[in-house]
């Protein structure tokens, strides 16, 4: 009797989770199928009509997208923004994380607490002042400007994550290296970086996805020649219906890179998100 009830309960749970899973997949499936249909077909009926009329599907939208210089330029801009940002954040945060964990300087712990406090500062508050600053420096509207802003606002989390990871290293390991007369730079590159690799990987993936997916920062700091894919697509959203043959494949193009990165490095990604909670 009990076993029957348990089996029944389990079947209900399975069915419930299957339904949730299907609900979760539907939006993405809908976008993908929509991206393979012409704007005229989309105006006539929803993407599910392809199940009765598969003739609507074609890759024409995607080949048109590759011909669209605005989109391809924006795609490269996205790469040119997110890759350097990721590298810079990792390098700068690793240096600082090591200093906060193992080196001594006046006010170190108070400064680090300030970094912890900065974790939650909303990006919005920086937009206006930094825009003015960049205007004076000639960085406004350029890719380096976008990158610098992202680096600065990525740093609190990055320094926090790496400092905490480095601090877990056994003290004896570092002392032994210092006794051997290794310079701090040598210890950093030969010992700390290799040991910190898992945390650095999590950070890099997380940072990359964050910047790749950003729209707000680039909306302000990038001009039309330096804008990433998100901003380029956003500018077409006013004519949602008639532009759907660009928006749907464009959105799919912009999400396929992070989704592939996610599946390739899911373990690091999940760890990064968990470490970054309460950010």
């Amino acid at each position: 009797m009990n076993a029957v009830r348990r089996a029944l309960g389990n079947a209900v749970v399975q069915a419930f989770l299957v339904v949730i899973g299907l609900v979760w997949m539907t939006p993405l499936a809908g976008l993908f199928l929509s991206s393979l249909r012409s704007a005229e077909d989309t105006a006539k009926g929803g993407w599910w009509t392809v199940f009765t009329g598969p003739g609507q599907l074609s890759f024409e939208n995607y080949s048109a997208l590759l011909e669209n210089s605005g989109i391809t330029q924006a795609f490269w801009n996205t790469v040119l923004i997110s890759v350097p940002t990721t590298v810079l954040v990792v390098v700068i945060a690793a240096l600082a994380g090591y200093a906060f964990a193992w080196l001594d300087f006046p006010g170190r712990d108070a400064v680090f607490l300030a970094v912890v406090a900065l974790l939650v500062v909303p990006v919005q508050i920086g937009l206006l002042p930094v825009a003015k600053l960049f205007g004076q420096l000639g960085l406004f509207g350029t890719i380096p400007g976008v990158v610098l802003f992202h680096v600065a606002y990525g740093l609190p989390f990055a320094v926090f994550l790496l400092r905490n990871y480095f601090a877990e290293m056994p003290k004896e390991m570092l002392e032994a290296a210092r006794m051997d007369g290794g310079s701090e730079w040598r210890i950093f590159t030969r010992l700390v970086l290799p040991v910190g690799r898992p945390a650095i990987a999590s950070l890099a993936i997380f940072q990359f996805l964050w910047v790749w997916n950003d729209m707000l920062v680039a909306l302000l700091f990038a001009d039309s020649s330096s804008q990433p894919l998100t901003v380029q697509l956003q500018s077409q959203i006013r004519q949602f219906g008639s532009n759907i043959d660009v928006l749907a494949p464009g959105a799919f193009l912009s999400l396929i890179v992070p989704v592939v990165v996610f599946f390739a490095f899911q373990r690091h990604f999940v760890q990064g998100v968990m470490a970054g909670s309460v950010k």
Binding site: V13, Q14, L17, I20, G21, W24, M25, P27, G30, L31, G45, G46, W47, W48, I92, L95, Y98, A99, A101, L103, D104, F105, P106, R108, D109, V111, L113, A117, L118, V120, V121, P122, Q124, I125, G126, L127, L128, P129, F149, A152, L155, A167, R178, L209, L216, L233, Q234, R238, A248, A251, F252, S254, L255, P258, V259, F262, Q266, V270, V278, K279
Partner: protein, 455 residues
């Protein structure tokens, strides 16, 4: 005080703690340390700390930046109806989204433990975290489309609605004046009370149905119109009183005129419905087993109701819940995975002991799992609150232009006021400062949590 806070607060072990050489070495160590930390401190100072201070100062000046207005911008924030709307919407977001997400995440985290494909399920739900708000926005603009032929949500809603309520077949149909049918106040049509069993076939002619809107199975009504009713039977035919190409006679079933299938017909006596039926392919209907006497025939208004169009997801009333729905799609996986990790760390023996004592699953969940998960749930909730406060892209993308003012939140309002046409950077700065003030409790929470972990 700060020195005891950090666990490994050890200076680099000086080789010679005393003497001039020791001091020199220590100073050298400090310089090196500062060099390591310098790039980060420079960027944080110039692009994060300085802007915070600048914004606070700027928020006390007017739009031009020349005139000191004190708290004027902050008062304006709660006077201006659109900004006030943004404050209200942000409050709705902050209360609703984290609560739903934490609850949903908790339920799913507990349930997913019971199936073998837990990992696959977690991956699937977590994946939207990798998708940009822009792409998610486009996805949900598509899904929320009001036309049930285009938006998947309304397609589902309409098909569920029609399965239960039935869809009306002839929204535009009407009767000709003076041909026997009178329109009731509720939109129904009825004959006078003169139909009795055993009489001739009653002809109920309607117009206003375009030939292309006729159901595919409709057949000519002429045959049915000629039939004779049995002694206890009322017969009739509902037909389209219109001959394509012209030449038909109103009130008469001409040879080419079609029956109207699927129309509900009621027999009414003394104001009460005594029988109900639906017309066949040729528009014919009959009631059998009626008592003698006279009846009225009524075509209820459900035949003529306008088609159900689903829900206006992106209309002013529902746009915020709709965008929160999209947000749930993105963040549920996060809540589930984090709570799941907390669940895995629960002491197994407490759960086992409760099971041995005969507690059922619900009791275990209520009395043991949830209380033990308290700290994890708090972290998830706080994280979500911080993120929800800053929500920008989703609202900006999903809300169509005309309802943007109804969907606006602090982050979008700050953007619109400062850069998107408002061009009032004083008020914009004040909104930014308000956002900062709202996350200060989270800041305190973070700092305290960190200090506790370092003890």
């Amino acid at each position: 005080m700060t020195a005891t806070m950090v666990k490994e607060a050890n200076p680099p072990a000086p080789v010679h703690p005393d003497g001039a050489r020791g001091r020199r070495l220590r100073r050298r160590g400090r310089v090196i340390a500062l060099l390591f930390a310098f790039p980060a401190l420079l960027l944080l100072g110039a692009l994060v700390v300085y802007p915070v201070l600048f914004s606070i100062g700027r928020s006390f000046f007017d739009a031009s930046g020349n005139e000191f207005v004190g708290g004027g911008n902050y008062a304006e924030m709660f006077r201006d109806p659109t900004t006030l709307k943004a404050v209200r919407n942000t409050a709705i977001w902050v209360v609703v989204a984290p609560t739903l997400l934490t609850g949903l995440g908790l339920i799913l985290a507990v349930l997913v433990e019971k199936v073998r494909w837990a990992t696959a399920f977690k991956l699937l739900l977590f994946m939207p975290m990798a998708v940009s708000f822009l792409a998610a926005g486009i996805i949900f603009r598509l899904a929320y489309d009001e036309d049930p032929d285009k938006g998947v949500l309304n397609a589902a809603v309409v098909s569920v609605h029609d399965a239960f309520e039935g869809s009306s077949s002839y929204p535009a149909a009407r009767a000709r004046d003076g041909e026997g049918l009178t329109k009731g106040p509720d939109g129904s049509y009825a004959t006078g009370a003169e139909v009795s069993p055993g009489g001739t076939t009653t002809l109920l002619g309607l117009v206003g149905v375009a030939p292309k809107d006729l159901p595919g199975d409709a057949e000519p009504a002429a045959g049915a119109a000629a039939g004779k009713a049995g002694a206890d039977e009322v017969r009739g035919v509902v037909y389209l009183d219109f001959t394509p190409g012209g030449g038909g006679e109103p009130g008469v079933v001409d040879r080419e005129e079609s029956g109207l299938p699927g129309v509900t017909v009621e027999a009414v006596r003394d104001g009460g419905t005594v029988a109900r039926t639906t017309t066949a392919a040729d528009g014919s209907f009959r009631f059998t087993g009626l008592d003698g006497g006279s009846y009225a025939l009524k075509l209820p208004s459900s035949n003529f109701a306008p088609p159900y169009d689903g829900i206006s997801w992106l209309g002013p009333a529902l746009v915020t819940p709709a965008i929160i729905g999209a947000y749930l799609w993105i963040w549920t996986g996060f809540a589930m995975v984090l709570i799941g990790a907390g669940l895995a760390a629960l002491p197994r023996d407490a759960l086992e002991a409760a099971r041995m004592d005969g507690a059922n699953e619900w009791q275990i969940f209520r009395r043991i799992t949830v209380p033990l998960l308290g700290p994890v749930l708090t972290v998830v909730f706080v994280t979500l609150v911080i993120n929800v406060m800053k929500v920008f892209d989703l609202v900006y993308i999903i809300a169509p232009g005309p309802v943007q003012a109804d969907a606006t939140v602090l982050a979008t309002q700050m953007w619109l006021v400062s850069f998107g046409g408002g061009n009032n950077q004083g008020l914009g700065s004040a909104l930014g400062v308000l956002l900062l003030l709202l996350v200060i409790p989270a800041m305190v929470f973070n700092v305290r949590r960190f200090r506790r972990s370092e003890r």
